[in-house]
C-alpha cells in the first residue's frame, strides 16, 4: 500500500472527524463539556482504529465526487422503494410469483469499499441479494430471474449503481 506512510495524518484526521461527527449526532447538544468529552474519546478511538478506518482519508475527495454522492442518494432510495413494493407484491400475491435463481455479475470496481457499497446497494434493491464476492465477480441471488447471461445480468442489476460508484470510489 503506497499510501501507508504519506496519508497517515490524513487517515487519522478522517477517523477523528467521522467519530466526532457520530458523537455529535448521538449527544445532540453543543454543551462544551460534551464537546470536550467527545473530542477526547474521538481522539482515542481514532488513535486505536485509524488503520482500519480508511485507506486514503479525505485526500481524494473532490467536489465532483461529492456531487455524485449527493446524486446517488435519490437514485438509491428510488431503487430501494421500488424493491420494496416489488417484494411486497410477491409476498402478498397468493401464488407467490417468484422465479428465484443464482446468477453471476461482473464489476469494474477495484477498491474494497467500492465493492462493499455496490454489494450493499444490490442487496437493498429489486429482488437481488449479494451472496459472495470473489475478485471482480459477484454471486447474486435473484428472486425473479430474467436472464442467465453474465453480461446481461450485469447490465440489468448493477449498471445503474456502478455509474455513480465508479466516480465516487475511483
Amino acid at each position: 500500500m503506497d499510501a501507508q506512510g504519506e496519508h497517515r495524518t490524513q487517515r487519522y484526521l478522517t477517523a477523528f472527524v467521522v467519530s466526532f461527527g457520530v458523537w455529535l449526532a448521538l449527544v445532540g447538544t453543543l454543551n462544551w463539556q460534551e464537546l470536550l468529552m467527545g473530542g477526547v474519546l474521538s481522539a482515542i478511538v481514532a488513535a486505536l482504529g485509524w488503520r482500519y478506518f480508511s485507506q486514503v482519508g479525505f485526500s481524494r475527495l473532490t467536489p465532483k465526487k461529492f456531487l455524485y454522492l449527493i446524486a446517488y442518494i435519490p437514485v438509491f432510495f428510488w431503487a430501494m422503494i421500488k424493491a420494496n413494493f416489488d417484494v411486497a407484491y410477491r409476498v402478498i400475491h397468493p401464488r407467490m410469483p417468484i422465479h428465484p435463481g443464482v446468477v453471476l455479475i461482473k464489476t469494474d470496481l477495484k477498491s474494497d469499499s467500492g465493492k462493499l457499497a455496490l454489494a450493499n446497494s444490490i442487496t437493498l434493491t429489486p429482488g437481488t441479494l449479494t451472496m459472495d464476492v470473489e475478485g471482480d465477480s459477484m454471486l447474486i441471488h435473484w428472486i425473479n430471474v430474467k436472464s442467465t447471461d453474465t453480461k446481461e445480468t450485469t447490465r440489468m442489476i448493477s449498471e445503474k449503481f456502478e455509474r455513480f460508484l465508479k466516480v465516487i470510489f475511483s
Binding site: 409476498v91 435463481g101 449479494t130 470473489e134 465477480s137
Partner: protein, 115 residues
Amino acid sequence: MYIFGQVLIGIGTAFLFLGGLGIFRLPDVYNRLQAGTKCTTLGAFSTILGVGFIHPNWMLKAIVIAVFILLTNPISAHALARASYKSGVKLWDKSVVDRCKEFEECQEIPKEEEG
C-alpha cells in the same frame, strides 16, 4: 409535519408486517432473506424517520439509528446468505437457475494456475 410523520410510520409498519409475512411465507432461506432485508430495512427506516418528523428535535438521533440499520442489515444478510450457501443449504427446487457451481469453478482456476 405531524401528519406526514404518521403517514411515514404507517407505511413503515405496514412494510414491517410484510417483511414478517415474507419471512414466514417464502420457500427457502435466500428468498426469506430477500424479504427480510428489503422490507424490514425500509420499514424500520421509514418508521424511525416518521418518529423523527413527529418530534423534530429527536431527528438527529433518529437519523443515526436509521443509517445504522441501513448499513448493518445488508451486511448481515450477505453474511447469512454466504454462510448458508457454504454450509450447503439447498436452493428451492423450483429455482430457475443455479450458477454457484460455475462460480466455484471460476474461483478454482486461477488458484490452480498459480500453483
